[in-house]
Symmetry: C2
Subunit: 189 residues, 2 copies
DNA sequence: CAGGATATGGAGATAATCTCCATTTGTCAA
DNA sequence: TTGACAAATGGAGATTATCTCCATATCCTG
């Protein structure tokens, strides 16, 4: 399928300039307010080049998002390897909130992408979800978490936190959701 | 402030035609895919008229959303008046899920609006939130729900359900989130 | 280093959004 | 009623954003 001969080095350079610029704008939360052609100017690149590398605004956002997701998945694996299952799960959920807190724009951009029904985002979502599923499964295994709730429900709660990032008491409420979910997950006596 | 002299009857008619058309498109989930000028043609109205009534696409969406929110708030009040606090809360959350299930497009559109950081949507959100806050407060009052979690957290979980509406197992997972939240809210023994 | 393959920038085609105003329609006082 | 004034209308076209195309520049391979 994707039998891509490797990019020429100049192409690679341009592509990275574009990604770096997008990354910045993304974190600043301006991603969807900026004229698309301006990404090109900002990155020191012609409009044609921008469109060849990323045919749509969403394609660009997805490329940025991809990096974020990979980092989060790594984090999940790392926690799972070093902590008891229940703590790993709790730790990961709290880390997710920290991450959204630190990357102002990420939350908003994620919500927009989510709403756009993009398929690549769904794929990234699935990777993240696999990580969450593993964490939950491990905790079910060792008996600290009930076994009748799907990991998908936990994902939804995370989505909600992301989607609502502009609320004034965001941080406190996000922590509240996590507490609620963790308590709800605890195995009933 | 808004010392609006009443609209002339023809203006009122056009405005309602526009709203009715938007409502349909909204529920069908095509709201953000349709050329804005086409709303005008669809509603049998000139572009100028459309823009006078609703200066932006978001303004139109918000107007539609407003109706939805009012209906949901009524529903909350009704439940609160006829059921014990805990059941009213549970019933309302489940009704919200039903509502999103029935209005395919609403969930997607809501997520998009949310992401756009609109202020009117925030206002509508606040109305909904007041309803939820009341339900939670009543349940705290009669001792069935813990008192250390803000209603905002419940709102976030609902947002999450809306934002994720395109997941294949949406309905089951949404019910899962609600279960999680309700269990998490139960007053610890 | 020559020749072919790749990639580039940016001018302008295409498409969407929004404005403007000559005309129509409703309102109300006489 | 009706005349006169205010409010509202539609849609042609100005404005702005998106995307395409290709003559030119750059890289790579033998």
């Amino acid at each position: 399928m994707t039998a891509n001969r490797p990019l020429r080095v100049d192409a690679q350079r341009k592509r990275e300039a574009l990604l770096a610029t997008a990354q910045e704008v993304f974190d600043a939360g301006d991603f969807f307010d900026l004229r698309f052609d301006d990404f090109a100017r900002l990155a020191g690149v012609g409009a044609g080049t921008l469109y060849r590398h990323f045919p749509t605004r969403e394609a660009l956002a997805e490329a940025v998002y991809h990096g974020e997701v990979a980092a989060l998945c790594d984090r999940a694996r790392q926690l799972q390897a070093t902590l008891p299952a229940a703590e790993a799960l709790a730790g990961f959920l709290r880390d997710m909130v920290d991450h959204m807190d630190a990357h102002q724009g990420l939350a908003r951009t994620l919500a927009t992408l989510m709403a756009s029904g993009s398929s690549t985002i769904a794929e990234g979502g699935r990777a993240l979800e696999r990580a969450v599923t593993d964490l939950v499964a491990a905790a079910v295994q060792d008996g600290t978490v009930r076994d009748d709730v799907d990991a998908g429900a936990v994902m939804m709660a995370l989505h909600g936190i992301g989607a609502a990032h502009d609320r004034p008491a965001w941080r406190a409420e996000a922590d509240g959701v996590i507490s609620l979910v963790l308590d709800g997950l605890r195995r009933p006596v």
